[in-house]
Symmetry: C2
Subunit: 192 residues, 2 copies
């Protein structure tokens, strides 16, 4: 599938068929995550692949009550939990480099967006889930100190048709030259 | 370009030709960012597109001295600065939903990875840059309170060949069922 088509057609899938996925397909989406860029190539991400029914149900129970995926996440054949090793991304010589602290949220998102796009290209659904009790998940999955649980996604075939969700127009999110500046490329610029 | 090829072949480009880019191409990569998913579809991202020589040089000066892009970023025809509106991502009914605080770092990364992949498919280089003085950039670009500068990337044609940077093998980042559990899919699993 073409990159731009995958980017535009990917939807956040909240309802899954229980049909299993081949291991080679799971490996392909993890490969996509693996090739993401990261702060000074520190690759702080780690992934836990869950297929056991009992564990999937325990994970579902950690989701926020208002989270619409909560009802269905355990139906997906696989859940992938993305973790991060702290103290790697955002540092230089052991010191924080920026006012943002640890950049693990940023780097894990880069990897998980690769994963979501690769999954879509393979006909599989995902949804980035952040609204759950990460400490409870860490307990369930025996995640050690120094590693945090960031997000999870079900991975499976979609059981729903999802409409195109609203996106602001570019003119509502892009400025030229300064914040609040031109919303379209200024006329007479040196670029053709 | 195929999704998986774009994911595997994209490189972080640190040296650029000054050759200009058509505005429609800039719009295409911004479109890719626009279609990213976000926390409850809050789309907290905002982008500033910089082409003016003077501003590009001011931005270069905000980069960490050790950052190897610092020398060359102003050669690129365009710099895209990604900002985030605070208080949107990671919230439910005005309250923080998780122990991670504001999820703007995560959502901006999703959008910027879409942008990086789309740029690569169009023959253009990018590099996610985080090591700069974000408050100084906010001053230069007149970014108001309530909005933070997250990352920037040059956008342009590469002036270098970049080798395949080292990635840990999947066995160094993936576990099955629990953290520290099997590193390969367990035999005899219900999945084929």
């Amino acid at each position: 599938m073409e990159v731009m088509k995958a980017i535009r057609d990917r939807r956040s899938i909240r309802s899954y068929r229980s049909e299993p996925i081949k291991d080679e397909v799971i490996n392909s989406v993890l490969e996509a995550a693996r090739w993401a860029p990261s702060w000074a190539n520190t690759q702080c991400w780690e992934f836990i692949v869950i297929k056991k029914e009992e564990t999937k149900h325990k994970l579902a129970d950690t989701l926020a009550l208002w989270n619409s995926v909560r009802q269905d996440i355990a139906h997906a054949p696989v859940i992938i939990v993305a973790c991060a090793r702290l103290g790697r991304s955002g540092f230089k010589d052991g010191e924080l480099s920026t006012d943002k602290g640890d950049w693990y949220m940023f780097d894990v998102a880069l990897a998980m967006q690769n994963l979501a796009l690769a999954a879509h290209a393979l006909g599989l659904g995902t949804v980035h889930i952040g609204a759950f009790d990460a400490r409870e998940v860490a307990q369930i999955l025996q995640v050690p100190d120094g590693v945090v649980v960031v997000e999870m996604t079900p991975l499976g075939y979609s059981a729903e048709e999802v409409n195109n969700p609203y996106r602001k127009p570019l003119s509502g999110m892009v400025f030229y030259e300064t914040y609040g500046g031109d919303k379209n490329c200024p006329q007479g610029d040196s670029n053709p």
